[in-house]
């Protein structure tokens, strides 16, 4: 395709206008590749996760730990709110002038000896990377943890091409060895506890073809880290090709930045001859100076550290230091579609710190797998539907109580709750006339709106609701309701409706019938 497609879910022109979307917007990420869509709706996936007591325990413990640590180091900075505002403003500037910054970045990377590739979507990005690896003659590559490559399903594409991709981040290694899926943006194996990790290492390390876990491996975190070191050491020292993502790309100099903890990133970015970096095209910052904001916001928000152990920055190819070939793949895959929604584009400010996951009461209970996408939690609930299209992720914008904890924690002040509400409207509008969401809900909402449109109707409806008193005669509370309210009463009672609505009481009072006393002191 050469022209932006008409949004398939744009629905009626009037709704698109009402929601602020342009009539013609870029395509969303393609189906059938990568990991942006779940196999089942969030409530169904969440139900299974909620039944897993071990998972609940692991998540509760881990998110509790990180919440406390983040709060401590954020409180250390007396200018946190100003840094946060600056971070948001820098990213908004990047998004508003993304075409300029992209070409500037390309120019600089090329000038410093790098090669820039443009990928419209996951399929194209995967093909570019596969071709680049093949051109080196290598049959394996070491990988730095990267959300973008997870998003596009690069490992699977490499495997299909006969190329083995070795995840080197400890958590990604746990996920890969466990034949599992990541469940967190920063700590993909957050759903595993130390005992489970020990079992995976003991069982899988040898089978995977690396150095097996030592006999008698304990579940001591230090021993597990040591086992990972031994497992990957030779692979690092002999790797010819590395694949990474990027946290930031500085447009003015073409500098790429990767933030990490273990040193696996440094190994991949430094030792192999060829480095391929796959980066979402929103990862740009305009100037070096902008890094002074993000290198304060990111580590404190992500792992609750003043600074992460290692940050690597490279600009093109440096003779005598590091890779001799550097390829940068700029990935769209639904990002321009996200950019097209004025009320949704701020999701592209995201720096992938996962602070919103760690404070989210829904994520804490369901974990990341329930979201079906590589981007879970609150940011995933606004990002995945935008990247892949709201019709493909219609349950995600509803996977939140709108409690607002995510907005407070976000280092770039993404108003996730408001964006969720906006995306819910897009889901509803995209489904008008298609029976999605269920027509019963639509009918209830329409009926409620009709009833509430006129005070007279509303007053009569409240009087009719007194019939509900019959349901609670015995206990003084209602314990069972018919659908669609049945899911309320599976775990909660409903109070019995009052004998008289407030407005009827007030009207009687106004009419001077002696209700003057407002029941002072009755409690």
């Amino acid at each position: 395709m050469t022209r932006p497609a008409v949004r398939p879910d744009a629905g009626q022109a009037s709704s698109a206008t009402f929601l602020g979307l342009p009539a013609v917007v870029p395509p969303t990420a393609p189906r059938g590749v990568g990991m942006l869509r779940g196999d089942e709706p969030f409530p169904a996936a969440a139900r299974r996760a909620l039944a897993d007591a071990q998972l609940r325990h692991n998540l509760g413990k881990a998110t509790g730990t990180i919440r406390a640590r983040r709060a401590g180091v954020v409180a250390e900075l007396d200018d946190w709110d100003r840094l946060r505002a600056a971070g948001a403003a820098i990213k908004d500037d990047v998004l508003a002038h993304l075409d300029d910054y992209l070409t500037r970045l390309e120019e600089q990377v090329v000038a410093r000896g790098g090669v820039v590739h443009w990928a419209r979507d996951a399929v194209e990005a995967n093909r570019i990377v596969v071709d680049l690896v093949r051109a080196t003659g290598a049959t394996e590559a070491v990988k730095v943890k990267s959300m973008a490559t997870q998003e596009i399903g690069l490992n699977e594409a490499l495997a299909d091409a006969g190329i083995a991709a070795w995840e080197t981040d400890l958590a990604e290694l746990i996920v890969q060895l466990g034949h599992d899926r990541p469940s967190h943006i920063v700590v993909p194996a957050i759903h595993r506890n130390r005992a489970e990790i020990r079992d995976i290492f003991a069982r899988e390390m040898g089978a995977a073809g690396g150095v097996p876990a030592p006999d008698g491996l304990t579940d001591e975190p230090r021993a597990l880290a040591e086992a990972a070191r031994a497992h990957l050491r030779q692979r690092f020292l002999s790797a010819k090709v590395a694949i990474s993502g990027a946290n930031f790309a500085v447009a003015e100099t073409g500098t790429l930045c990767v933030v990490e903890s273990e040193g696996n990133g440094r190994m991949c970015l430094t030792l192999p001859d060829t480095l391929i970096t796959v980066m979402g095209l929103e990862k740009i910052v305009p100037t070096w100076r902008d890094l002074e904001v993000f290198l304060q916001l990111l580590p404190r928000s992500a792992t609750g550290e003043r600074m992460n152990p290692y940050t690597s920055m490279w600009t093109g190819v440096a003779p005598g230091d590091g890779p001799r070939a550097f390829h940068l793949v700029l990935l769209d895959n639904g990002r321009t579609a996200t950019l097209a929604d004025p009320a949704g584009r701020a999701a592209l400010r995201c720096i992938r710190c996962a602070a919103c996951l760690n404070v989210c009461p829904v994520y804490e209970r369901t974990g990341g797998h329930a979201y079906g996408s590589v981007y879970p939690g609150p940011i995933g609930a606004v990002l995945s539907p935008q990247l892949a299209g709201v019709t493909d992720n219609p349950s995600l914008p509803y996977a939140s109580t709108l409690c607002g904890a995510c907005l407070d924690a976000c280092p770039v002040a993404i108003d996730i709750p408001s964006m969720l509400v906006h995306l819910r409207a897009r889901v509803v509008d995209a489904g008008r006339g298609t029976g999605r969401p269920p027509s019963a809900e639509r009918a209830v909402m329409a009926a409620a709106a009709w009833t509430m449109a006129k005070p007279g109707r509303w007053a009569r409806a409240l009087r009719a609701a007194r019939l509900g008193r019959l349901l609670g005669r015995r206990r003084g509370a209602i314990g069972r309701l018919p659908p669609p309210l049945a899911s309320w009463t599976t775990s909660r009672d409903l109070p019995v409706p009052p004998a008289e609505s407030f407005r009827d009481r007030w009207s009687r009072r106004q009419a001077g019938d002696g209700l003057g006393s407002l029941r002072e002191g009755q409690r």
Partner: protein, 257 residues
């Protein structure tokens, strides 16, 4: 979606840029970036802008110790470069080096020698441009030069590496390597399991903005950089921080006042 249809690669760039422009049809005009946070020269939350140099070294030392780096502190006589030293552990958890015990007049050399001896280093990687005096007191240590470039295996076989640095950030306990003299290429400070680094007082800045400003003004920004804050670590197991994964498991810092 048309993923099955092969498309000419040359179109991708033009098409993505066209997509961006169509997405921005509403011409957003975001608020200007406010730089009202602590910028370069404004100090850091723990360090007033006019704090004495000693205070920034003390803070750097505390931060390094906090992330389980080993710290040795030496005090130079500014006139002669000889060690004017204090022995015993400082209140910040760092060890103050007694140059006299190490038998050298040069306090840095003495501290280096003591560190290497304590660690039991026999083969030490020496980056190009390392001040020759730093290894003056290190008897029994074989210096391995990176000329010609050492292989990854040779680096792995070494017991450690000694480097200088470009900068250090007190507030975050960060040491910045930019490949300048005495630092070497990035692999040198990565593969050996023990990294000993010398930080001079004049290299210490208060906060991240100070470091960025200095990297930009010295033209180091486009050089390959590694920012190191403590030894290799991970938070991947139950979100507890554990030191020692793929990078050097021991980071030792000699702070020179």
């Amino acid at each position: 979606m048309s993923q099955a249809t092969p498309r000419p690669a040359g179109d991708a760039r033009a098409e993505i840029l066209a997509r961006v422009r169509s997405a921005l049809a509403d011409r957003p005009s975001p608020a200007p970036v406010g730089r009202d946070y602590r910028t370069a020269g404004a100090g850091s939350p723990s360090l007033a802008a006019d704090a004495p140099r000693q205070a920034s070294l003390d803070l750097l030392s505390r931060r390094l110790v906090d992330y389980h780096a080993l710290v040795r502190r030496v005090r130079l006589d500014t006139a002669t470069g000889d060690g004017a030293v204090t022995s015993g552990a400082g209140a910040d958890g760092a060890d103050w080096v007694d140059a006299g015990k190490a038998g050298g007049g040069n306090a840095i050399a003495a501290a280096v020698a003591a560190a290497l001896a304590d660690r039991g280093v026999r083969r030490l990687v020496r980056p190009p441009g390392l001040p020759p005096g730093w290894l003056a007191g290190a008897a029994g240590v074989e210096a391995v030069d990176d000329e010609p470039a050492l292989t990854a295996g040779e680096l792995d076989a070494a017991d450690g590496v000694l480097t200088g640095c470009a900068l250090a950030i007190a507030e975050t306990g960060t040491i910045i390597l930019d490949g300048g003299p005495g630092q070497g290429r990035r692999a040198l400070s990565l593969v050996p399991d023990y990294h000993l680094v010398v930080v001079r007082a004049d290299q210490v800045v208060a906060g991240v903005p100070d470091a960025i400003a200095r990297l930009v003004t010295t033209g180091a920004a486009a050089r390959p950089q590694t920012w190191v804050s403590g030894p290799s670590a991970t938070s991947d197991i139950e979100l507890n921080r554990v030191e020692g994964v793929h990078g050097p498991r021991t980071l030792e810092v000699i702070l020179v006042s």
